[in-house]
Subunit: 331 residues, 2 copies
């Protein structure tokens, strides 16, 4: 089956293009009329690095490829617009594998109002999906970068964390599942394999937030990125962290600390935002209306630099030695 | 050397962002204010599929990754705007390899007025560069798709063809180089390894063209794409094809036909456009002012379907059996 035949099958499945797309997939390039501001991010997932075939259905791999890219648009507070996907296909990828990946992509595209407006298909030694997403806002001022957090701001976090890391442990050692109900184990694995980009929450938070980032590397590392970009220090109260149900049990069974999974595990794709305290009420109401997930205050922004995650006794959480983890704050 | 260190080195080298880019590389997503219409294309090159390390310096691989993507914007008649690059790096890619790739990307970006506005860095089993490029035009009407060619239009081609295919033969069998002067052999290899996106020519042609496409798959295949998208037939006069200097000698030495290299070889990245005959004079003048390359009339658009490449005696060129080659026209 050649490239042109696969592309023809792809085009048969594409729904109608979004309103901004004048010319979609199939020409040299797509044509869009954005209006206002656009925000663009790229994200790649590679077999053997970010996922393993067999651990996840290819439909779910397709969803995750788009979800991790859309999560960056959520962190800007943008509306999802268009996606462009490079598929690197190894020789053993069958036509039905290809269509399963495409179905996953198109499923999440429909759920999020994203148009698959173009792509490229190539041979590659490992299954690779590189996804570019373009989001929109009426003006650039309505998009929220990592910079802009101010001393006195509250730090708020959407949803729950630690679930994706617990899911990773479960996928690596299924015997750990005996410590939690089956539905909890399934939910934790889904956090790892099929993350939800918090697009509605991101738009709700964007109306008041000074700075925002999505948690792909883990709370500690991503908080450090936000602190550095904003030129501020972040103090996080470990006891306030919304840790996903079942993480404590899985961590105990794997001889790990639940806080370690929550703060350094990564891939939860929740949003961390710095908000002026007087905006917390409005933000909570808007997030409630978006009906996507919860909002939890977890700390505050101070003058200085670095990130400190404090345990209940006031002791800073030891953060050294975690993969991807941030440098401790200067004394 | 970790991802964050490499990204820090990358950011040190980035020049100032273009005027449309409000927030460039380093946040969750870039922010741009396009104005008018945007046109977006993605293109990936993979080691072992599109290039071989050792055959080409990594700086040149970086240039080609961007050039093949920009060629699609040239084919729309767009001004180059922003590029976003996913780099899949195998474990043996050193820091200096990474910086050589980056230097090549940034060099061509500067030559073409493109801002490298974002990217993603990941591990991959083979060196992979997936490049998304965004081009701009004041309005969507000023962008030229593959559809729109009309019976009576002239077919025109920028530059020369066959050079990239001859360069591929030379790289595979360096002994063929003895049949041409050294400078000719070098030029043919450069056509293969370091193609030029015809951005200025594309903008010049866009003022009059009804349809346009870039030649990545080869004249026969790409002409078929244009014919199909426009719902017309294309008649190409083989004797008028501007075949690059040295192609005849390399083809003879390799026991191949020069016309085969020109029509089915691919990767020349020249532009094929359908123009109303009364626009040819203006287009030639504008292309001359763009001072990028030549313009050659090679055939015409007729009612019907399919592509026919006619040899001087009036005999259609046998096109079967070439890789990527188009189906012959219906009788």
């Amino acid at each position: 089956m050649g490239e042109f035949e696969l592309l023809a099958k792809l085009r048969e499945r594409l729904p109608q293009d979004g309103a901004r797309v004048l010319l979609g997939s199939g020409d040299d390039a797509a044509i869009t009329v954005p209006g206002g501001a656009t925000t663009t991010s790229v994200d790649a997932i590679v077999e053997g690095v970010h996922f393993r075939r067999g651990e996840s259905e290819l439909r779910t791999v397709g969803r995750k490829a788009l979800a991790t890219a859309l999560s960056d648009l959520a962190a800007m507070g943008a509306e999802a617009g268009e996606a462009y996907v490079v598929l690197g296909a190894p020789a053993d990828l069958t036509e039905s594998d290809f269509l399963a990946l495409l179905d996953g992509l198109l499923e999440l595209a429909e759920e999020t109002g994203t148009t698959l407006a173009g792509g490229d298909l190539t041979r590659a030694p490992a299954l690779t999906l590189a996804t570019t997403v373009v989001g929109h806002a009426p003006s650039p001022e309505q998009l929220i970068s990592r910079a802009g957090a101010q001393p006195g701001d509250l730090l708020v976090l959407t949803g729950e964390i630690g679930g994706a890391a617990a899911g990773r442990l479960l996928l690596e050692d299924p015997s750990l599942a005996s410590t939690v109900p089956e539905s909890t184990a399934e939910r934790l694995c889904a956090r790892q394999l099929d993350p939800t980009p918090r697009l509605r929450s991101g738009r709700a938070l964007a109306t008041g937030a000074h700075a925002m980032i999505d948690l792909s590397d883990g709370l500690g590392a991503d908080a450090s990125h936000l602190a550095e970009a904003s030129g501020v220090a972040l103090r996080i109260d470990a006891s306030s962290l919304p840790i996903a149900k079942g993480v404590a049990e899985i961590a105990a069974a794997a001889a790990r600390e639940p806080l370690e999974l929550a703060a350094a595990g990564g891939e939860d794709y929740e949003l961390l935002a710095a908000l002026p305290p007087e905006r917390l009420g409005d933000a909570s109401i808007q997030l409630g209306e978006a009906a996507e997930t919860t909002l939890t205050p977890i700390g505050e922004v101070e003058a200085g630099e670095g990130v400190e995650i404090r345990l209940p006794g006031g002791k800073p959480l030891a953060t050294q030695g975690y993969d991807h983890f941030a440098e401790p704050a200067e004394p």
